[in-house]
């Protein structure tokens, strides 16, 4: 893909650990390694899908990208500026360029504010527009997300989930950002509304040249919207590839298992298809296994997997896999 060759966001060994305190003296006895060494790039104008099961650190990774969590370690380049070490003031000036769309449309809008003031909040914070200009801008934003301009005076509880998600999107767009983290924006919506919202996101991306980090556990939706896909397991990326390669020739056993769980809309094929069923549960991120994180559930694990941690290596152009056995 030639149009995406400039790197916009570059994560280098990003770690987010949450300390666990115990006992009377609240001594730190360990840490939850929610995100444990992510390295990837997001190119300008592309959509990077981030998939993984519940609790694997997707949302934490997304929030860390905007430094809503302090990084324990690692660097986060946003067009050459290391956000991870910026002081709060400089970080605040960067905020308009990166925004977030949240998972729960119910919780992400303040119930006591009108839609108009919710969408205008970023404008209040970062611009010196007059009230009339703000109102005009809010109305164009409502137009952009396909909502009635007259809704500025209503409250979030008067809307359906899909409409609220549109309001959230309008808020994220208010400052003309370059990069938007979509944290499972469709997970809480009806299937019929999911398509609308995803199409809206794609539409806006085309119009405004946005870059997305699209976090989801819905593999088919990611296939629809993403250019490249990263698969996470227990705080680490196990596979990162162009969408076509990942869905056609998954190399990591975890990716293979994930993909085999997606149902095929043809009963004949579905009946004959072989599922890879993973046994056991995801280990606790407070106490990950030695060696490869996936070795406790991997169907093809060998002794080496239990002692040595696999590096993310490039198998073929653009397809990175963290597995000793992948070829």
């Amino acid at each position: 893909m030639t149009k995406h060759d400039q790197v916009l966001v570059k994560a280098d060994n990003v770690k987010v650990h949450f300390p666990i305190h115990k006992g009377i003296f609240r001594k730190q006895v360990g840490s939850v390694k929610a995100v444990d060494g992510l390295t990837f790039e997001i190119r300008k104008g592309e959509t990077l899908g981030l998939v993984g099961e519940s609790g694997c650190g997707k949302s934490t990774a997304g929030r860390a990208m905007l430094r809503l969590y302090e990084l324990t370690e690692g660097q986060l380049d946003f067009e050459g500026v290391d956000i991870a070490s910026l002081d709060p003031h400089a970080l605040r000036d960067m905020r308009p360029r990166m925004q977030m769309i949240f998972q729960d449309p119910q919780a992400c809008l303040n119930p006591r504010m009108t839609v108009g003031s919710i969408i205008a909040e970023p404008l209040d914070e970062h611009t010196n527009m007059s009230t009339a200009e703000k109102r005009e801008k809010v109305k164009t934003l409502l137009d952009a997300v396909g909502m009635n301009r007259d809704y500025v005076n209503r409250y979030p509880h008067e809307f359906s989930g899909g409409q609220r998600q549109r309001i959230g999107i309008a808020r994220a767009l208010a400052l003309d950002p370059d990069f938007i983290v979509c944290d499972e924006p469709i997970a809480a919506l009806d299937v019929s509304i999911q398509a609308q919202v995803v199409n809206l996101l794609q539409d806006i991306q085309e119009r405004m040249g946005l870059t997305y980090l699209f976090i989801s556990h819905d593999l088919s939706m990611v296939r629809h919207i993403a250019d490249r896909v990263a698969v996470m397991y227990l705080g680490k990326i196990v596979e990162l590839a162009e969408k076509r390669d990942l869905y056609k020739t998954p190399k990591h056993p975890y990716t293979q298992a994930l993909l085999s769980a997606v149902p095929v809309p043809d009963p004949d094929i579905e009946a004959k298809r072989e599922h890879i069923v993973l046994k056991g549960d995801v280990p606790s991120p407070a106490n990950p296994p030695k060696g490869c994180n996936f070795c406790t559930r991997c169907p093809i694990a060998i002794d080496k997997c239990r002692t040595e941690e696999p590096e993310l290596r490039e198998l073929k152009t653009g397809q990175f896999v963290a597995c000793h056995l992948a070829e």
Binding site: R92, C108, T114, E125
Partner: protein
């Protein structure tokens, strides 16, 4: 559809939170009734003495223990002082003490609750301080404070203002703890909602986040505390007066009138009924106002 919507939208200004709140409050029947009664009491207490001009301290021994007459609508007490004049001038003090003490305790409680809930580092110290205040035995503390400071304040501000400030301060700082605890709990819950995270991702500073997102969402418990607080302050002031620690004995307040009248209840029940009625009506009307304001502040209830 969009054309039509656009034209109708043009004329309408952006609605503000407070405009909506007032509009909705006026629809709340109980709240409006409470407000009318409360305002009536306030006006009566402030302007009444100019209409009913008998001096509340004037002793008219020949007309003692009267029932209601045209000259003394609420009768007279055992020293012949006029009941209505005493209730009116007592109301000035009681209402002023109640509102000022409530405001002080609310301010302290909300401030401490929000700081403790929002800033994790302040949580421990502030809440332990709250526990400390809760553990203090209030009455002995009041005795000590009043004994220590009464005379200095009296000489500094005059006997009435001095004791007024002292009582407001004492009631205020001994009644903020419950508000602080409730507010802290609410703040902890609201803080984890995603819209606060959204505000952070926009770059809203801590103070603005508190003002714009946290405080409006914890207003309901604050309103409830406020309405209960006025009642509490009036009653605490009565108790202090009863113990001889409040205002001077010849200085009427509702609480003092009630306690003085209690001894004459069988002889002259009106002496207890009128101040008691005044306290109850005030407390009740304030509670209804609080109810109305709380409902008006919640957009989900609004419009029902």
């Amino acid at each position: 559809m969009t054309d039509q919507a656009a034209t109708t939208a043009l004329g309408r200004p952006q609605r503000s939170l407070w405009g909506d709140v007032i509009r909705q409050f006026l629809k709340h029947k109980g709240g409006v009734a409470g407000l009318v009664i409360f305002l009536f009491i306030v006006f009566a207490v402030v302007f009444g003495p100019y209409i009913h001009t008998i001096d509340p301290q004037y002793l008219d021994i020949r007309n003692k223990n009267l029932g209601p007459t045209w000259e003394h609508p609420m009768g007279t007490d055992n020293l012949g002082r006029d009941g209505l004049a005493q209730v009116l001038s007592g109301g000035r003090v009681s209402l002023a003490v109640g509102i000022a003490a409530m405001a002080l305790s609310l301010l302290l409680g909300t401030l401490i609750g929000i700081l403790a809930g929002f800033f994790r580092k302040l949580d421990g110290p502030l809440m332990r301080t709250t526990d400390l205040f809760l553990a203090l035995p209030i009455l002995p503390l009041l005795l000590v404070i009043i004994l220590l400071f009464r005379d200095t304040l009296r000489s500094a501000f005059g006997p009435e203002t001095g004791i007024f400030l002292l009582i407001v301060f004492v009631i205020g700082i001994t009644s903020w703890m419950n508000t602080a605890r409730i507010v802290r709990g609410e703040v902890l819950a609201v803080k984890e909602r995603e819209f606060v995270l959204a505000a952070r991702s926009i770059g809203t500073g801590s103070l603005k986040t508190i003002g714009r997102h946290i405080f409006p969402n914890v207003l309901s418990p604050v309103m409830v505390s406020a309405t209960l607080g006025i009642a509490n302050a009036i009653i605490t002031e009565s108790a202090l007066s009863f113990l001889g620690l409040g205002f001077p004995s010849d200085f009427p307040t509702w609480g003092r009138l009630l306690y003085d009248g209690a001894n004459f209840m069988t002889l002259n029940p009106a002496r207890v009924i009128w101040p008691g009625l005044a306290i109850s009506l005030t407390v009740l009307s304030v509670n209804y106002i609080g109810d109305g304001v709380r409902d008006a502040l919640d957009p989900r209830i609004r419009g029902r």
